[in-house]
């Protein structure tokens, strides 16, 4: 386990930079993670997805897959890719301070 400082607070992250303890997360940390992933400003649409991911994870214990995200977050897959280039589910999870989605075994 590695400790890094995000928004002035030390937090534990996995080797890919996902927070190990979602309860340590703050919005400011999310903004900092987004910036280091190349997203300068998180818009309302970004937050809609991030909040949805985080809520689903905290309620059910697992983060939604991209497909489930496209069906239930209110943001279609095409737009998800515009908001979070490369991997929307992974990136939104990272910014939202929850573990990497496990993409079912």
């Amino acid at each position: 386990m590695t400790t890094v400082t995000l928004a002035g607070t030390p937090v534990e992250v996995d080797p890919e930079g996902f927070l190990e303890k979602p309860e340590q997360w703050t919005k400011e940390m999310g903004e900092e993670i987004a910036r280091s992933a190349g997203i300068e400003k998180l818009t309302e649409r970004h937050w809609q997805v991030i909040d949805f991911m985080r809520k689903t994870y905290l309620d059910t214990g697992s983060a939604p897959s991209m497909r489930a995200l496209g069906k239930t977050s209110g943001v279609a897959i095409k737009e998800l890719y515009e908001l979070f280039p490369k991997g929307p589910a992974k990136l939104a999870a990272k910014i939202g301070g929850i573990p990497k989605p496990r993409g079912c075994v």
Binding site: P64, M66, R67, K78, L80, G87, K100, G103, C104, V105
Partner: protein, 445 residues
């Protein structure tokens, strides 16, 4: 064989207010789906309870497919009709088999509604309706070229059609594409690549064929140790792997896959593993399923979150382990015990640990074996006996291949009838596994 347990007395219909008072027993167990999970649980329950318990199982047709053999059909290694048997013939005497299309479940009235208007009341319901293929959900997949140069072998008809196309294949780019997870038997697309390599070499076409695996995962498999070993095996067999490939649409006329992030993959022959979803009735039954139509259950007890007297087994569930027959087989032990406990008003047993185990056919009469659970990723070692094996874990061997072939017989004669398979336990065992490859914290997420 067990008959009704001593001390149980036949009672009238179960009233839920009574649970925990006089140990009433259910007399109507209804099972939706007569595939691997539904059939084996029906047979196990029939052996456990006497005639005062009615067991009814519903399916939309009378064809049971041994799905692991679908992989072999395109290579001409098994004939499509040899992997199908009547569902009704796999059920013990005393189980009522009904053909019908389920429309929805009304959990508050303990009733299942069938298309055509019939209503089936139940005391305990088991949803075993599996996963369905949804090729039409991917733009263009079932458009031009579908059935000509784009196929899926995840159905009997699809596998048979692909067989014909393979016979006239002259080389080019063979692309195996997993559209998105979850899918049945997540390892099968890798097996298809391995067998293609073998088959193309045998046919003298390997030199002029490129095999590409386009997967949404970030490696060959989800779990690190197996992903590394399987990744190396794909490399050795010269299979190109395009990772984190999230298929957006298929252009059948230009014969190209397009990902959401605008990566193009051209193909001459496309082998698609389409999107999977739960049965449509799951989505039409309030609160039963998740966004993809899989039944939301407690991952250790298999009781649904929607209703205490509704359980689920196998591919139909949303549990985070492989969708595979072996999983349904291990789940069945937990489920039989928990139905018994539920009826007796006792606390359910949290015994299902996500145990999955599968043979991976690697071509040239070899295979390897994976054994894993929610908490333990696949590791190398020996199975089922430490040091002795005879099977090896996560390493190719001839005996694993023979194991895979022998499993056909075990499936029809031991697994479906609900008998125990000797030496294989429902819970994962660490003995015989090399745990030194795990990350120090034991974190495999």
């Amino acid at each position: 064989m067990r008959i009704v347990s001593a001390g149980r007395k036949p009672t009238s219909r179960l009233e839920f207010g009574q649970i925990g008072h006089d140990e009433p027993i259910a007399n109507r167990i209804l099972i939706l789906g007569a595939g691997t999970g539904g059939t084996l649980i029906a047979n196990k329950l029939r052996r456990r309870y006497g005639a005062e318990t009615e067991i009814t199982i519903v399916d939309r047709d009378d064809r049971h497919v041994y799905q692991p053999d679908l992989l072999f059909v395109p290579f001409g290694l098994v004939a499509p009709n040899s992997i199908c048997r009547p569902r009704s013939k796999q059920l013990r005497r005393g189980i009522e088999f009904r053909i019908g299309e389920v429309e929805r479940i009304e959990t508050e009235k303990n009733t299942v509604h069938l298309a055509g208007g019939d209503a089936l009341p139940y005391d305990v319901l088991i949803v075993a309706s599996g996963a369905e293929l949804l090729p039409e959900e991917t733009e263009g997949l079932t458009g031009p070229g579908w059935g000509e140069n784009a196929f899926t072998y995840y159905s009997v008809e699809g596998a048979a059609a692909l067989r014909k196309a393979m016979e006239s294949f002259e080389g080019g780019r063979l692309v195996v594409n997993i559209v998105d997870m979850p899918i049945k038997c997540p390892i099968a697309p890798l097996e298809f690549c391995f067998l293609s390599d073998w088959w193309l070499k045998k046919s003298g076409l390997r030199g002029k064929t490129e095999i590409v695996l386009a997967t949404p995962l970030d490696g060959a498999f989800t779990q690190p140790v197996a992903a590394k070993m399987l990744g190396e095996l794909l490399e050795r067999k010269n299979v190109l792997v395009e990772t984190e490939y999230s298929t957006g649409r298929v252009d059948g006329e230009a014969r190209k896959l397009h990902s959401w992030d605008e990566r193009e993959i051209p193909y001459d022959l496309l082998v698609s593993i389409p999107l999977h979803g739960g049965s449509p009735f799951v989505a039409s039954s309030d609160g039963l399923g998740d966004a993809l139509g899989f039944v939301a259950v407690d991952q250790n007890t298999l009781q649904t979150k929607a209703a205490a007297n509704v359980f689920a087994i196998g591919d139909a569930t949303d549990v985070p382990t492989s969708k595979a027959g072996a999983v349904a087989h291990f789940q069945a032990e937990t489920l039989v015990e928990n139905i018994d406990r539920f009826l007796a008003g006792k606390e359910l047993e949290k015994s299902f640990d996500g145990h999955a185990n599968c043979f991976i056919e690697t071509g040239f009469s070899k295979a390897l074996l994976l054994d894993f659970s929610y908490d333990v990723e696949p590791l190398p070692g020996k199975f089922p006996f430490p040091l002795i094996g005879p099977m090896t874990l996560l390493r190719e061997s001839r005996i694993d291949h023979l194991g895979k072939l022998a499993f056909r017989q075990l499936y029809w004669h031991l697994l479906l009838p609900g008998r125990r398979i000797p030496t294989i336990s429902a819970q994962l065992k660490m003995a015989g596994k090399d745990a030194s490859l795990l990350r120090p914290e034991g974190d495999n997420g």
